[in-house]
């Protein structure tokens, strides 16, 4: 009875509520759904490619914005009477509007100046511009996305943010291993997903999905992670993330990577542990080292994150 009642109350499909109850329990599901209705905080990342952080934050505060530090360097929660996206700071690329969980993904990649980095699903570039900032615009980023229209937004975001070390390809990233001979120090796979974690922003997602979408997305994500790991140097790092909380798109994909490749999961400081099981399916213990973010717990989108190290290079 309860899933049906909650589904009606929050305008969701019943199967989704059943899944939430499996993850959060009944009380947690209500808290989750209440927070989704209420919405989460807004966040901005200060782009230090464009200016000094103290000066940019000072100017935002001068305009009446209230900024609070977060656990990700350069990222602040922001409140104000108007949207920061119409500020001069936004137009000059001094700030980027980006959820805290998303910024934590690019931050967790741990890039260094001068490295070679692959961003496999990069448009519209929230994480690519962040990576460039962390690399101080040095080294090289290959930013790939299969959608031509989304790549246009990526290009303009790179331009706005003053990114100079990035090459953009329009390509299906599953094909990359056959196209690129040399390997990368780090790979970010911010995979296409059901987007279940962003229903607080995009309400259409409450009803737009059907149950089999999870398994369809899951198989694409497995192909993408295989491609990403094949392009990584031995000892290299791959960060896998989705804005979904569904285990098929997350723990299951990481379990697949553990099974097929010689990888280890590096635990991250923030976020809840990955799930051990879901609806009768069990995942390897190791998978609890992955991280989950929830609106009602972390005041972020629903988000999943795993940091993998490739122990043995794949021969291509």
């Amino acid at each position: 009875m309860l899933p049906k009642t909650l589904a009606r109350k929050y305008g969701l499909r019943e199967f989704m509520v059943k899944r939430y109850i499996e993850i959060f329990g009944v009380k947690g599901t209500k808290e989750f759904l209440d927070k989704v209705e209420k919405g989460i905080s807004s966040y901005v990342r200060v782009n230090t490619i464009r200016g000094r952080e103290e000066e940019i934050t000072y100017r935002l505060m001068e305009k009446g914005f209230d900024l609070k530090d977060t656990f990700v360097p350069h990222v602040y929660s922001i409140k104000g009477d108007f949207s920061p996206s119409s500020s001069l700071e936004y137009l000059r690329g001094e700030i980027f509007l980006q959820d805290l969980s998303s910024a934590y993904a690019s931050f967790s990649l741990g890039v260094k100046e001068g490295e070679r980095v692959l961003d496999m699903c990069s448009a519209p570039g929230a994480k690519t511009t962040h990576i460039a900032q962390l690399m101080r615009n040095k080294g090289e980023i290959l930013a790939v996305d299969s959608s031509k229209t989304r790549v246009l937004s990526l290009i303009y975001n790179l331009a706005r943010c003053g990114v100079r070390n990035c090459y953009v390809w329009i390509e299906d990233s599953r094909k990359l291993p056959s196209m690129i001979k040399s390997k990368f120090d780090r790979v970010l796979l911010d995979a296409p997903c059901t987007g279940e974690g962003v229903i607080s922003k995009d309400r259409s997602r409450k009803l737009s999905r059907v149950e089999k979408d999870y398994s369809i997305m899951s198989s694409i994500q497995k192909e993408l992670i295989s491609s990403g790991l094949s392009l990584l140097k031995e000892g290299g790092i791959l960060v896998y993330s989705t804005c979904s909380i569904s285990p098929e798109e997350n723990e299951e994909v990481i379990s697949y990577a553990l099974e097929k490749f010689q990888v280890e999961i590096i635990p991250l400081e923030f976020g809840e542990r990955g799930l051990k099981s879901f609806m009768g399916r069990k995942y390897p213990r190791e998978v609890t080292k992955c991280r989950r973010f929830y609106p009602h717990v972390h005041d972020t989108y629903g988000f999943f994150l795993a940091k993998l190290r490739l122990v043995k290079e794949v021969k291509t």
């Binding site: 137009l91 290959l142 790549v151 290009i155 090459y167």
Partner: protein
């Protein structure tokens, strides 16, 4: 052979009526000869690094603009970071700078000062009091106005 898109860019630069036009064109020509000023699809790019990824890339470096219909050069807001150092500057009040990024012209009353006194019809880099640039405008002495030629608000207005 100078490519036709470079001639379009040159025409656009000439139209700026800048006192430093020769320097700008010398720099552009050097970039062209060094093969760091290139055309990819219809984008004109100034490369900032070189890599084996470049061949397949649709984009890299700084986008200066695009080539539109009848080979017309349409500038992109980022061109100001490349030619800005060659242009005289007009420093605007915050309110003037905000309106400028809405695509409006700048009234002389909003100008706090100039780096050098502009000639009539000369194009200037529009900055705020902190020296941050927001676009390019044409100084019209008689009309006491700086006409908007290009501004960073395009990022929003074009829905990028």
């Amino acid at each position: 052979m100078t490519p036709s898109w470079f001639k379009s860019l040159k025409r656009w630069v000439e139209n700026l009526n800048s006192e430093y036009e020769d320097e700008i064109m010398k720099f552009m020509k050097w970039c062209l000869d060094s093969e760091i000023l290139i055309k990819k699809e219809n984008l004109i790019l100034l490369l900032t690094s070189r890599s084996s990824f470049l061949n397949r890339s649709v984009f890299s470096g700084i986008p200066l603009g695009e080539i539109g219909s009848r080979e017309r050069f349409i500038p992109h807001p980022e061109i100001s970071s490349v030619i800005g150092p060659f242009l005289k500057k007009a420093y605007s009040s915050e309110k003037g700078a905000v309106l400028f990024t809405y695509g409006r012209d700048l009234f002389i009353e909003s100008v706090l000062g100039y780096s050098e006194m502009p000639r009539d019809e000369e194009c200037l880099l529009i900055c705020d009091a902190y020296g941050r640039d927001f676009g390019i405008g044409r100084y019209k002495r008689g009309e006491r106005i700086i006409v908007n030629l290009l501004d960073r608000g395009l990022y929003l207005r074009k829905g990028y």
